[in-house]
């Protein structure tokens, strides 16, 4: 019974101009299983999902869902057909209430056909409660931080009573606490016989949750395995199409080096800004990789934004290369040599309709232009260099960046900042939604850059990533610095306990 397939996709083909995204992919999901869909960035996972749910139309192949052949033309049809989806790009309606975002499209009606608000709010509140989130559902969803927002879209998907729930990288903007909550929910659904398709680049999550794994590579279907058949090494090997031995080389801890005697690049003293940055002080030395750890909403990004001149500071002192600085715009920061790669790739990073070339050189145009005239030659040099150096997968430098996969977009953005040759580079969630291969590339890049004397400030919600790649970790909680961990102190447990010891942490709004 449990082996009965709920979904069967056969020989799915999808081509975009310049890209063959899917070259005959087969994909089968059984009732009540949690099925991992794996692959590098650009392998075609999201595309496959979007075709199944009627966002894109397939160029070939057949889809059977619940024993009938289906061909959904719109997301609505897919929903009505019994498939609910959390798409990769978190998208909600900012100024509608949490309730409306959860129930949009299936609002409970009162007798005049008007919305029964009372019922609606209760329903939404219940759904979120069942996920251990207790918030005011009458507030606009934009009033809550990304973590809550992600949970809201999850709540929306699971509350649809679907036969199949698809989650395209739901955990990428969550931290361990919420991930646990999510997993509880997933097990709950599974126990109800609902099938789940789960996409994530965090392998440990896969092995924690999934029953079977399907791997895609460059739009090709590689295979489907039971989880036991495929250990991490094998999985990675299948994903990136290299032998396991090569794969072993990939992983590997960066050796820690104490840079405290190097001269100070940036120094914060009692910096405050709004509610989210309360009295932050720390120093960062030349060639050092400093990690900012904390739960979502702990204000790491805000600290980063202050240093990068995006947000002005209310109080405190900021020293850069020994001199005090007061930044009022990103431009100033960039001129000083401070670059930031923000956590919101889509909305703060890419310029979607401009080419990869223009996106890479956007920030460094002043350097490669005379009297405002851009030197096409210099531009191409830079672009070619970084496309090679970072292994950016794109049909050509002229491709619109919006057509690249998440990971490749991220690499383009990194290239944009590196092309500036900054003194300090801030990376806010630099590997969010990036595949293992690219991830380790970026990790070794970070290592390389620091060796070349670049100072880095790294923010990540994955603690082991921080531990792996930093020399030193500052722990934030509620916008306050609550501890510093050096060398071998830098362990998951230590970080968590530092956070925990500072009183009970229910500051992430409502997450229990």
């Amino acid at each position: 019974m449990a082996d009965k397939p709920i979904l069967k996709m056969d020989g799915i083909i999808k081509t975009f101009p310049g890209v063959r995204a899917l070259k005959g992919v087969s994909f089968e999901v059984r009732k009540g299983e949690i099925h991992a869909l794996m692959g590098e960035n650009g392998a075609g996972k999201s595309t496959l999902i979007k075709i199944l749910t009627g966002v894109y139309q397939k160029n070939g192949g057949t889809i059977y869902f619940d024993d009938n052949e289906v061909d959904f033309k719109t997301p609505i049809e897919a929903q009505q057909g019994g498939i609910s989806t959390i798409y990769q790009e978190v998208s909600l309606i900012p100024y509608l209430t949490v309730t409306e975002n959860v129930l949009l499209g299936r609002e409970p009606k009162a007798k005049w056909g008007n919305i029964d608000w009372k019922k609606a709010h209760e329903e939404a509140k219940e759904t979120l409660k069942s996920m251990g989130i207790d918030i005011d559902v009458k507030k606009a969803v934009s009033d809550y931080n990304t973590a809550i927002q992600q949970m809201v879209s999850i709540a929306r998907a699971v509350s649809m009573k679907a036969k199949l729930v698809i989650m395209d990288e739901p955990t990428s903007s969550l931290d361990d606490n919420e991930v646990e909550v999510l997993f509880r929910v997933m097990r709950q659904l599974q126990s109800e016989g609902i099938a789940i398709v789960f996409v994530s680049h965090r392998l440990d999550e896969i092995y924690q949750m999934c029953d079977r794994i399907t791997v895609l590579r460059d739009g090709d279907f590689i295979g489907t395995w039971d989880i036991e058949e495929l250990n991490q090494q094998k999985l990675i090997a299948q994903m990136i199409g290299k032998s396991e031995t090569e794969v072993k080389a990939l992983s590997g801890m960066k050796q820690v080096n104490d840079k405290s005697n190097e001269d100070v690049v940036i120094k914060l003293e009692g910096v405050r800004r709004g509610k989210k940055v309360q009295d932050i002080s720390f120093t960062l030395h030349r060639g050092e990789v400093l990690g900012l750890a904390g739960l979502l909403g702990s204000g790491r990004s805000e600290v980063a934004k202050v240093i990068a001149g995006i947000d002005g500071k209310d109080e405190g002192k900021l020293e850069f290369n020994g001199g005090e600085i007061n930044l009022s715009s990103p431009k100033q920061a960039i001129q000083k040599g401070i670059a930031i790669c923000t956590e919101n790739r889509k909305t703060e990073g890419i310029v979607p309709n401009m080419s990869v070339r223009e996106n890479i050189t956007l920030a460094c145009l002043p350097q490669i232009s005379k009297f405002g005239f851009v030197s096409r030659k210099k531009q191409n040099e830079i672009v070619d260099l970084y496309i090679k150096k970072m292994g950016i997968k794109t049909p050509s430098p002229e491709q619109k960046i919006k057509n690249l996969s998440g990971g490749n977009q991220q690499k383009v953005l990194l290239a944009r900042w590196l092309a500036l040759h900054p003194t300090l580079l801030i990376l806010d969630e630099p590997t969010r939604g990036i595949d293992v291969g690219a991830k380790s590339e970026i990790h070794s890049l970070i290592d390389q850059l620091s060796k070349d004397g670049l100072s880095l400030l790294m923010i990540s919600s994955e603690f082991d990533e921080l531990i792996q790649n930093t020399d030193r970790i500052i722990v934030l909680r509620d916008g306050v610095r609550v501890g510093e961990l050096n060398g071998d102190e830098r362990t998951q447990d230590n970080i968590m306990s530092v956070i925990a010891n500072e009183g009970d942490n229910d500051e992430i709004e409502g997450v229990l």
């Binding site: 894109y56 930031i340 309709n353």
Partner: protein
Amino acid sequence: MANTNMVVNESKTNKLREIPVTQLVLPIVIVLLVIFNIFVTNNFFAIQTLWNLLLLISTTALVAIGMTLVIATGGIDLSVGAIMAIAAVTSTFLLETNIFILVLGTLFVCMLFGLFNGAIISYIGVQPIIMTLAMMIAGRGIAQVLTDGYLVSFSNPSYEFIGRGSIASIPFPVIILFFVALTIYLVVKYTTFGRYVEAIGDNETAANLSGINVKRIKLMVYCIAAVLAALAGLIETSRLAAADATRIGELIELDAIAAVVVGGTLMTGGRPYIWGTVFGAILMGLITVTFIMNNIPYTYSLVIKAVIIIGAIYFQRKNR
């Protein structure tokens, strides 16, 4: 902004990115209209007709070029007509001075109005359409106040040359138009400014975070729009040898916007197509001329104009 299906459609242009389809569709439509005229309209097939046409659209095109930059940043400028009126009036105050002071002075004064638009839009954050709408109302009023609503006739040969003179039988306004279009085109294509304009229109936040001074660029764009409108105002005024604060540039903003969009620039911002805009203006003018020369009632021309606007844009988009 578009829904996902459109994202896919748009990506089809990639191959044609360098020569956007818009640049192809328009000339075709125009050529067809010309051929039509050559057969239908008597005396159409004459070089003079070409100059008349270009003369006719020169002002609209100039305004539209400025509008292109504004729209590329995701904004819009309804006040261009009013700025033309201000230019017309200002110039009459400078009649006694020499032609250079007259021109530069007028352009400068109008630039200040553009500066005001831009400052309030980018530094205070008022929505462009409503700010420039207010300026459209107030600006013309100011121009009228300055002349008590009367139309100021003058005779000033060197000034009148701007609008009436011609070099090698090419009307001077046409030369101005070509010069301006070429300059702006080169600026857009080869300078950082051009890329900044496009980036801002495409993703303002990202542009800002990339160290682009978004506010200043926007400010500049509205100034340029105002200066070009002023130039158009000078041409128009000198052609009439009279400053007509009430009527000059009436509804030109709509023609200009139509030209811009027919030219292929998206109202939502992004890459500006300067020559596309010029062609758009030519198309508009060609329609008007066709009707006047065939003595077809103005009322019918309205209907056909509407159809052609939609048709032209629709085909561009379809080919995207």
